[in-house]
Symmetry: C2
Subunit: 204 residues, 2 copies
Amino acid sequence: MTSMIKVLLAEDQSMVREALAALLGLEDDIEVVAQVARGDQVLAAVGAHGVDVALLDIEMPGCTGIEAAARVHREFPRVKLVVLTTFGRPGYLRSAMEAGADAFLVKDAPAAQLAEAIRKVLSGERVIDPTLAAAALAEGANPLTEREREVLRAAADGSTNAELAKALHLSQGTVRNYLSTAIQKLAVRNRAEAVRIAREKGWL
Amino acid sequence: MTSMIKVLLAEDQSMVREALAALLGLEDDIEVVAQVARGDQVLAAVGAHGVDVALLDIEMPGCTGIEAAARVHREFPRVKLVVLTTFGRPGYLRSAMEAGADAFLVKDAPAAQLAEAIRKVLSGERVIDPTLAAAALAEGANPLTEREREVLRAAADGSTNAELAKALHLSQGTVRNYLSTAIQKLAVRNRAEAVRIAREKGWL
DNA sequence: CGATCCGTATGACATCTGTCATCCGGCACG
DNA sequence: CGTGCCGGATGACAGATGTCATACGGATCG
């Protein structure tokens, strides 16, 4: 072979990360040259190792894989980005694409698709599950405003209106208004459902 | 070597499952003889392949890895059980141990501990993260009654009292009473927090 | 410039939620 | 046998939540 494909692996759970490394290690044209456990370590590692492809989990401490993807895309536009996630939320796919991802894989998919996706993005292809792509398009864009998202996110842990108001420097009435509009936009009956639905769609 | 250690791998996410298989495949005394993606397929697979060790993820469709562990323990008491989970919830550890697990690992732990744990349980040892064990002991037992757990579980998706009452064949007042006592036992201020805390502790 | 949307806020109102006291029947434990 | 605890229920009450109308300043867009 002319040269190995250099891959960075970003995933917070060591066992999964090292297992994925073992999996990719079985491919004789792929070499895992760096592993990180936090989103905020991705950029530095990409710079340090001259990687060809970054494989990014979404759920990570530090920053999400999507944010990391956006940064890498800005700083190193030639590095290919594969986003890997547990949750096939259409909103995630949308954000990942906006962040410049070249492939979007769910961990439910067969392992063989991983190496395959790495080779495909390197040859300029994009890799997206067609079912997910359809779902993302069918779902439409996130209807929530930035503020509504913030309030909903803050309300997710069961905080009361008074606590939300204090935390976000808003009046209690305003908090209620935002939650009310969010509840209506999501067509649900209370904040708890709103949080759940927004999460499921990847809108939070 | 005299004989390979036969391992069953139960984990719903194909990519993770096959990656773990690749990882274990690197060990020359371990052989993954079966893989399943659902909890309710574990028992049959254990019976069919004469496995020495079953490696069980907790979060799985069909039934949880803990339930699967309990069944295997009843039917095949000589099969060693390693429970693997994303979440280091003390309540999970407790339930896993009660189900007859020999080892309890979190996916955060270094990959090397996996093969190590498999060898240790086969030699009769138990493998438990000491930090987690301490947390499980410090936390005490689940204070919620079966009914309180059920109601809380049903309330987790944001259902209203009326819906809960209908779904559980209870009066609305009774639903409120159960939620109220659960809220007090968990020392929180509303059902949303109660759900969150109970989840975190693995009491749901 | 006017229309529209966002962020913020208030007040009033209806409904939902959480608490408490109280009750019943059943079951377990000393 | 009494004393608890659990499952189940009712009614009353206070406080939290959700809805609606309305308002104002700023931004954006035609």
